[in-house]
Amino acid sequence: MRILLAIATYFAYIFIIFMYSIKLKKYLRLPLHLRTEVYPVIPGDQTPKERSYYEDPDWWTRPQRHHLLQRVWFLFSDYFLLREYFRRDRSYWLFLYPWHIGFILIIIFHILCFFGALASLLGIPVAAGSPSIFGNAIYGLTLAAGVISFISGLFGSIGILIKRLTDKGLRNYATPQNYFTYILLLAVFLSGLYSWYFDPVFSVYRNFWKGLITFKPIDVEPATASHILLFAFLLIYLPFTRSLHYITRLFGFLLIRWDDKPNLRGSVLEKKVDEMLNLKISWNGPHVKPDLTWKEIASEAIVREKKQVSK
């Protein structure tokens, strides 16, 4: 059993990191696109928040404003607030919020377990009343993250499942896969809660991680084993869902929704645009001449049409 648990955990982590890396790489290698931002593009700016640099006369003569930190802060803080849901659909937020918090905290819980195990191996006692502040903190945070995650996630999973099943608009668009995901997460949180009952300060879990780090897997009681297996399965399953939206959401905002970077003459961006304009197209519409580059097809109309008019 201990070998199975160890292999499942090693494999799950390697698999999810590998799959997410491939998916992210693919996403980030998508080409430069035309601007399609939606305002406000500067979250939280109250002066007033909606304004763009196009409100300034001769805007191209003014220094460009940078808001990356402000934008990143807004996006990260929203992981813990889910502002739009709170604003627009409070009943959905009521279940989605604990579900999301449960998911975020379960990841944090496992990271803390890993660092707790590492600290323990380095001789730092991880326990209540540990002489090390770090050991104390890891102990307390692991306990808090685990317990809050399991309770909150369980409540959220049940709620979100009921909401999906009872709300017509949500139900009509839900797929069997969605329901499977909800039930799997519910099982993961439930098993976490169950394992906590037998391992009230997660010391067994930390020892399991020590075994993984030192390649000397240990046996755990069935409750913890069930949680380890279910969590490993969840990690393997996640790349086949839309779960990457946790990360791509950041790029969706920074690279698309708020991308208001102007193409100034002679800029690096202008060079990139030129590269794109030199790509050849193969659309077959009657008004499109295939095998010309974007640049050729855009300027070709001028030459051709001018000739027609001068006839």
Binding site: Y27, R35, Y39, R51, T175, R249, N263, E270, D274, L277
Partner: protein
């Protein structure tokens, strides 16, 4: 009766799939203690039903002929699938590939966007108009026919859509039931852009299959590239119109203004939507009066493509969009102007200033700006003597989506109105949260079959409600009221909303642009510039 309750119902043979009834639509506010009279919705004739694909909701925007044989249908499906694949090829669709992939891959269908859509809400929440409906239908088609998911996977993702000409035709029509206002995009916490998916569907049909509403393509971009304007105005005809406009200015104001044409090296090339020359010449006149009074070194162009700011390509076709943007820039380059100023036309703002920003490079990358900050500068600089009392009537502002939500220009037009209109009142919501007039993305110019009825009754309904609510406290028809709609397409829609519901005769509501209000406030012009007759 709505027979479409879920995505799979798109395969149903019923015609129409969803019947739109006046009684289902969002109710309108009472005004003067009377309910607004609801004119009946125009239905397709039997002949039209036979001829065109109108089985989605009983309305026809495109006028897509039904295939006549099995072979024709197969060819139609093949072309559609070819186009669908091209949407995901970098060379063909670098323009919007990343936003498209993001929207298709990461939407969690939480439906948070649904109630932000004025069409969905105004229709009485018809499922087919939900912002997530078309992307989900497209997603399922892609799963089955592009990704070629195995049968059991397709079951897990509910992607068992049977593709035939009716489904494709319905999808094509469905892409023209979204005004591309992108209110849904604005509220999405994941950054998904369901409106963009509508446009990508339109693009697929146009760029691969040559299918687009005639008013937008043939009479729109094709005509503009050929004769110079979507209105059909040729360069010589334009010069006649300008002569007429100069006479009008003289008659109205006593001023003798020579409108400058093709002035090389001018500071500003002003680009108007050519619809103004025909339907709202007072807008052209007002710009000329104002620029003349402020001693601006400006010019219009009478070169092919230089006098019509419109770029319908932004609504449906990247190739046409790029061609028109290049043509506009080419005209400015030849005139050696310092900058280009886009007049009161929302989509031209977005197309030329924002979207074409990554199309125009080198010497075509000429500074482009909106007329609003420019006008604000004139009004607030004190160069022109203005008397706000001349505009002492209730004024509300309709925000064109392209200028506020899609460009972030919100305050200059408001600062102008606050200065020159003592009774300026906001409609709610406004600014970046505004509602589309209902004529966006080409709808205002699409007049074929019974589509204008859909536009006025459904896509324009929320705006109508907003206008009536804005004037709630000044209901009486004797009180003249002005809806400032600084965009040609929006004005076209306002014209139809106001005439369909008789708002001018019954309630004293009229519409017009922003610059007309500025000129109306000019102290050195004797007569009011704005005329209130119907």
């Amino acid at each position: 009766m709505s027979l479409c309750k879920k995505i799979e119902d798109i395969n149903r043979a019923d015609d129409p799939l969803v019947e739109i009834k006046s009684t289902d639509l969002m109710s309108l506010p009472n005004i003067l203690d009377k309910s607004i009279q609801e004119p009946p919705l125009k239905r397709l004739t039997e002949e039209q039903k036979q001829q065109y694909e109108g089985s989605l909701d009983g309305f026809v925007a495109i006028g897509l002929p039904r295939p006549k044989s099995k072979q024709e249908e197969e060819e139609f499906i093949r072309k559609f699938l070819n186009g669908l694949e091209k949407l995901f090829i970098k060379e063909n669709n670098w323009t919007f590939l990343q936003p498209l992939v993001h929207s298709l891959e990461y939407c969690v269908k939480c439906q948070l966007c649904s109630d932000s859509c004025p069409v969905y809400v105004a229709s009485g929440r018809k499922e087919i108009y939900r912002p997530t409906f078309r992307p989900e239908l497209l997603r399922r088609i892609i799963n089955k026919y592009v990704k070629k998911q195995r049968a059991w996977v397709a079951k897990l993702t509910r992607s068992d859509i049977e593709l035939n000409s009716t489904v494709i035709g319905r999808l094509a029509e469905l892409a023209y039931r979204c005004t591309l206002c992108r209110r849904c995009t604005q509220v999405c916490p994941i950054g998904v852009d369901n409106a963009l998916v509508s446009r990508e569907i339109r693009k697929l049909f146009s760029q691969e299959m040559g299918i687009a509403p005639r008013e937008i393509h043939e009479l729109g971009t094709v005509q503009q590239l050929k004769v110079g304007s979507t209105t059909g105005i040729t360069p010589p005809a334009l010069e006649d119109i300008i002569l007429f406009i100069e006479e009008e200015i003289k008659e109205k104001t006593g001023k003798e203004i020579k409108i400058p044409f093709n002035k090389k090296g001018a500071d500003v090339l002003l680009l108007h939507n050519a619809g103004e020359f025909i339907s709202w010449p007072e807008n052209i006149e007002a710009f000329a009066i104002l620029f003349d009074a402020a001693n601006i070194r400006w010019t219009l162009s009478s070169e092919l493509g230089g006098y019509d700011a419109v770029n319908y390509g932004v609504w449906y076709d990247d190739v046409q969009m790029a061609r028109i943007a290049v043509k506009h820039a080419q005209v400015a380059k030849e005139l050696q102007v310092k900058k280009i100023n886009v007049g009161e036309c929302g989509h031209a703002h977005k197309a030329f200033i924002v979207i074409a920003d990554r199309v125009l490079t080198g010497d075509l990358n000429i500074p482009r700006e909106s007329a609003f900050p420019f006008l604000e500068n004139l009004v607030l600089s004190g160069k022109i003597r203005l008397d706000p009392n001349r505009n002492n009537f209730p004024v509300t502002l309709h925000d064109p989506c392209n200028i506020v939500r899609l460009m972030g220009i919100v305050e200059p037009q408001r600062r102008i109105l606050r200065k020159i209109c003592p009774q300026f009142m906001e409609m709610e919501p406004h600014g970046v949260d505004n509602y589309c007039c209902g004529g966006g993305s080409g709808f205002a110019i699409m007049g074929g079959r019974n589509f204008p009825d859909w536009r006025v009754h459904i896509s324009g309904r929320m705006k109508l409600k907003q206008i009536l609510e804005a004037f709630e406290n000044v209901k009486k028809p004797e009180i003249k009221k002005y809806v400032c709609a600084p965009c040609s397409n929006c004005k076209g829609q306002m014209r139809d909303l106001i005439s369909t519901y008789g708002l001018q005769e019954k309630y004293g509501i009229r519409y017009g642009g922003l610059v007309e209000l500025i000129v109306n406030a000019m102290a050195d012009i004797e007569k009011p510039f704005i005329e209130w007759e119907a």
